[in-house]
Symmetry: C2
Subunit: 128 residues, 2 copies
DNA sequence: CTTGAACCTCAAGTGGCTTGAGGGCGTAGC
DNA sequence: GCTACGCCCTCAAGCCACTTGAGGTTCAAG
């Protein structure tokens, strides 16, 4: 199958496929007259990559997952990747919730104390 | 004051200050023998920039906020920026919470159904 | 006068692509 | 034969917000 067909089949853009190849995430396929020709294994791999990226694994993590799949390692490995990832997602959520609280407090502070004054004096802009 | 002093006073790295100048976020200061010399206004501006960046405003948003401060616009402007920002923080939190739920479900799915099988068959890696 | 810290500029690297320039091949219609 | 279209190719640059490094200059202290 040509690259455009693979791209549609995996819902990934053509340049993205070439990019994945250039960074060594996907194996370079055979060529016919200069054009890349893919088999069904490439589609499987690309679907897996897309799945990992949708779950927000980094490219490096995706590479590691791909490697453990190709080596048919036990799925406890996969679970370890996922758990670590879950930890970092939760960490980021916590950071964002703290940020949300900070900004929300500043907005309501502005409403109750400084609304109408000039920007340089607004409580939102007072660094601590 | 020299750039190193300014950097310490505002808790910002020296290259970052030069970077802010290069993108037009901070005004280029006077020079003495080729070296940048800053006044107290530069410190105020840089403190404000740092504050905005800590609140995770983008550089462009920070630039707009800085402009509204320098024009002494009413602080309702500032509040509008902050509210818009709060909206995008909340949106990102919602996205991450959905992602967290997805990954957590995959991990517990792996624990109950497939733990021990080979990675290619692990439920975590089954794209939908 | 020498040393060492602090300063300077410019370029490249980070992540994960996207976009664009400039060109080749194959087919379909006129 | 000629043109237009659609697909493919490579290479380079752009996005964000810096950080890091190379290589060179200026300043302050001893």
């Amino acid at each position: 199958m040509r690259i455009g067909v693979l791209a549609k089949a995996a819902s990934v853009s053509v340049p993205t496929i070439r990019y994945y190849e250039s960074i060594g995430l996907l194996a370079p396929p055979a060529r016919q007259g200069g054009e890349r020709i893919y088999g069904s294994e490439a589609l499987k791999a690309l679907n897996l990559v897309r799945h990992c990226r949708e779950l927000d694994f980094s490219i490096d993590e995706t590479r590691d997952i791909l490697a453990s799949v190709q080596r048919r390692l036990p799925c406890s490995d996969t679970k370890t990747f996922a758990e670590k990832h879950l930890g970092s997602i939760r960490k980021k959520i916590a950071e964002l919730r703290a940020l949300e609280a900070t900004v929300a407090a500043l907005v309501s502070g502005c409403e109750t104390t400084c609304c109408g004054s000039a920007a340089p004096d607004c409580v939102i802009l007072q660094a601590r």
